[in-house]
Amino acid sequence: FSKVTANAAELEREQQGRVALRERYLRSLLAMVGRPVSFTMYEKVSVTALFGASDIDVLNFQVSELQTPLGVQKEAVLRCSDIVAYSFEL
């Protein structure tokens, strides 16, 4: 019985941690909306774009004014699996 309650307490702590981490990440995405963001992609490709939105499981980023070596793409979706890192200024 005590083992079960210990596990429940552990699970509760883990869930609280998950919520705190997730909320901060979602707020960072909100703070990024409309800002120029530099994306470092695989194969040494770098692009910049204005951030629009992300889907809830963070698999895709919707951006606009994507600056590519071939010109400016008005609207685009970047697959997160193609991205190594991104950065912006606050």
Binding site: E14, A31, K44, C80, S81, I83, A85
Partner: protein, 91 residues
């Protein structure tokens, strides 16, 4: 799944407010103060104070993280700064 993606939320929490060096895919390296780790994607969010008083924010995607090394622990002033970064303005 990489070792970084397999960590639990409580393990990721131990990195928050620490200055870390991150080794990412294709030998990219990043350094900064950990703001959070998204528990869904394992993306690690770093803050880097700039000379002009602004803050540079970078995120390394969870799938691209190869190694995270803890360098230093934030002092109270830095913790305060990091805590307020994305919070809504209080009226």
């Amino acid at each position: 799944m990489t070792a970084w993606q397999k960590k639990t939320p409580l393990e990721w929490l131990t990195y928050v407010n620490k200055e870390v060096g991150v080794l990412a895919a294709e030998k990219h390296k990043y350094q900064g103060w950990v703001l959070t780790v998204d528990p869904v994607s394992a993306n690690i969010l770093l803050a880097h104070p700039l000379e002009n008083g602004k803050m540079s924010i970078s995120a390394v995607l969870g799938h691209a993280v190869q190694d995270v090394e803890i360098l230093t622990e934030a002092d109270d002033e830095m913790k305060e700064k990091l805590a307020h970064l994305f919070m809504p303005e209080e009226m």
